[in-house]
Symmetry: D2
Subunit: 283 residues, 4 copies
């Protein structure tokens, strides 16, 4: 479906001529740009850029492209990254007992919509083993009695399975700061409220008590401040006075699935660039 392409993402101090320099470099080698997005973050005075280049339009492979690009990148003090659409990102998924997000992600994966590898699923419960294993994916149970040990084991598993991204798909445990810092920008959570409202535990219960007329969900990068990391995607859904907390939970599941799937897709396709505590999402 998707043709083979490279995705070049860049951030650097803003100034005139960046687009010209980068697109000039690409054109010089015959590179055909499939999709291009730009953004300047005014406060930070930083420029952000994402370009998809058809692989077959370049006379060399990704690594050679990188070597040649490095000089230009240095001139503009760029943070940059080049990814190859043929190399799938590797998602390690963490779950507890609730499986609506897991089910949704695995369906998107097995139908080919979500082009990633899932080397393993980790859980603090045994409930979802059979479902995960039906997909031919290893399911690893981690005991949470000793939390520190458990998270050290999770980190070790993530490294062992060469994970790129850790997805907390309704994983009902707070990730300790050491892990957040170790994998900055690599841990994605789905929080079941429209942040910054209703941080922490039981957000649907909080929403019910406050009497809001919509509830939401938030997909964000995990940082060491709880539910306060850069937001990737959010959405809301209308409720009314007739809805109980159980109804909110039910509506919420649908929106959690959708928001996580969208946010994760953006991340996997290198559409998300972080600037301070905000994200630029090139859709």
């Amino acid at each position: 479906m998707t043709t083979h392409h490279y995705t070049l993402t860049i951030s650097c101090p803003d100034r005139a001529g960046i687009i010209a320099a980068v697109s000039g470099f690409i054109a010089e080698h015959g590179g055909f740009i499939v999709e291009a997005s730009y953004h300047t973050e005014l406060e930070a005075q930083r420029f952000f850029m994402r370009q998809e280049i058809r692989a077959d339009s370049l006379p060399f492979a990704a690594d050679e492209f990188g070597r040649r690009f490095a000089a230009l990148a240095a001139t503009f003090e760029m943070n940059w990254q080049l990814s190859d659409s043929k190399l799938n990102k590797r998602l390690v998924i963490l779950v507890s007992k609730q499986d609506h997000c897991l089910d949704d992600l695995l369906h998107r994966w097995r139908s080919g919509e979500l082009q990633v590898d899932i080397p393993c699923v980790i859980s603090n419960h045994e409930d979802l083993r059979s479902f995960v294993e039906w997909h031919g994916i290893p399911f690893i149970h981690v005991d949470m009695q000793d939390k520190l040990a458990a998270f050290k084991k999770i980190a070790a598993l993530f490294d062992e399975y060469r994970g790129d991204t850790m997805v907390l798909a309704r994983f009902m445990q707070i990730v300790p700061p050491f892990l957040c810092r170790r994998y900055t920008g690599k841990i994605i959570n789905i929080h079941h409220s429209f942040l910054p409202s209703f941080v922490g535990a039981k957000p649907y219960h909080q929403a019910y008590l406050r009497g809001v007329k919509l509830i939401g969900a938030t997909c964000h990068y995990v940082t060491d401040e709880l539910d306060a990391g850069p937001i990737i995607e959010q959405d809301t859904v209308r409720i009314d006075h007739g809805d109980t907390v159980d109804d909110l939970v039910r509506y919420g599941r649908d929106i959690e699935k959708t928001v996580l799937a969208r946010g994760l897709r953006y991340h996997v396709e290198d559409r998300v660039l972080v600037c301070g505590n905000k994200t630029i999402v090139f859709k």
Copy 2:
């Protein structure tokens, strides 16, 4: 368009037989129910009810209906109210300099969509005098140098003009507690955020800094705790990283107008019943 009808709203302790008793009473006098809504608030164990009855189906007028209904109401310990669709509610609108909500409300009023009387518009600025007076509505400027005196004057004007409801249509002043308490359930505000996020000043700026992916607006009854009263209506709209604070303000205006207009309509049609800090809205 709308036929002449009475709207009966009731709240009382929940028990079996309330609907039967009320609808039996109405049927006994030949009353034709046009619209009927019910709700039980489980925690509070209270029952809420709203019925529209065609006026011409009853053999007597609203006051006689009230007299006869009083006995039944006492049996069930009802708080109840009967309103007559021929008697318009009287809205006193407070504005500052921004006129998008005012423009929207006055258009709905002059087109006949919002069936109310607007005896006067009060403002702490002179800017909108000409526009209001073009509509044939008195425009009253209140000086805010001495806030307490100003709000006493506002209260006096509200009483003098026999206001039923005070609408803060982007009135950029905090209503003092004495006024909130004096007109409980009668002051409606539009707050330019999706509460409980971004309480207080400059919510769009707060939203921008937090990097949320949707912004919202909230129509609520004013209580003496800032932006914490019962929510009547809310909505959200999608933004993205390319939007500046000015863009947020612009998107926000559209959603403020719509949310205030909807919330006010529900209020004016006696569709909003308050239970603690929550609302039941019978749409």
Copy 3:
């Protein structure tokens, strides 16, 4: 979670006193009404009603309730139905190769959200056998070479498995008129467009060519006119010029799942009453 209740749905010619008569009958036997909804269809001059009654508040079971209610029902020329929340509806699901709706429904079923029985899944392809059987649900392949024979077999299977509702979960075959008529109001389809736009084949392709800015999905009862039956639920999602037909198909899957799940839930909970070619949906 849900307490045991009976759901009484009624339609009859509109006149004064219906609510009083029905709620009086229920109250007389101590019946506790949990949820009540009413609607008058003005053109048709018909009245529609749905009430949930707590089973333990009545001194007798559903069948006795029915016997006693029959006399009242006759007086008002009612079409009525009483269903028992303990007796699950039986859904026979038909699929082809695409499994996003099936996956969604089976997840809602195994998580207990969708309280139904699924006696079997029927398909014209073998692809989804393993997934369905993992759930412990019989999977039956029907060969479509001879269409008439195939649909006769499907009808026979539906009867044999005592199906209440046939769900076309992206079943890529047109149901013949004899089946539509035999199971009027019992066959639910999800169409991948916002009807009445883009009837028939390849609606996403049609939408792409027309350059619409939103696409949608429609859950409807199947009648013998293609994609023209009473609509139960619809929704739309925003697209833009950058989206290919493949992107539309991808967005569409999400909205198809959601719209089918919502529509089916309304149907299963006896919230949908049909009036001519329209539905009343008591949410």
Copy 4:
């Protein structure tokens, strides 16, 4: 608020190197790109581009930019246009009796949100004269007895007032083919349905009869086929069985206003490029 900038829009046959050539040209003269968007229309094999350049970053004015750019443009067979943010587009608004869109546009205009000139408002009724004239805008009544003569007069007025864009803000007359062709891409209509559903007269009535669960509005360029021109913007809103045709009309007004305002804004900011019967909208 907005800094002075030039907007360059381009369409041309797709090939490698276009972005490099254009951005190289701009960079060569020190041009600072504020916003840049690209799109390739695959079927048509055409490339579309929009760039905002800060005026003060260029050493010459718009006309000199144009002269120099012409050679490059010829090489790539570009259709191109350069507009200056200081030169407001001139909107001639046509209305009948309904004023919700007019009120909305005039409010956005007088608040400075919609940066255009409105040299006159033309109507086939006298009803809105006073409101328009309060804004200091000439109001011109055109008698519709003789339709052909009337539309010739409208064309003459449009030319006389040097209009750039003709806005049909609920103008209840069908524009004749000669006018559509004369002002291709310059006439914008708001149709009160989600096209292609419910073309022509009384779309809310059609929607009511079909029993759809959402209604919509469509902002599009007018062509000589009724309601079939390139769509600029659309949106939908949820309704339910309880809503009468009057309710649909009321909900519809809100969505018509919003959709027209958005579509018009895109047009005025040169964000809309037409490709066949579709639009590319660079938001």
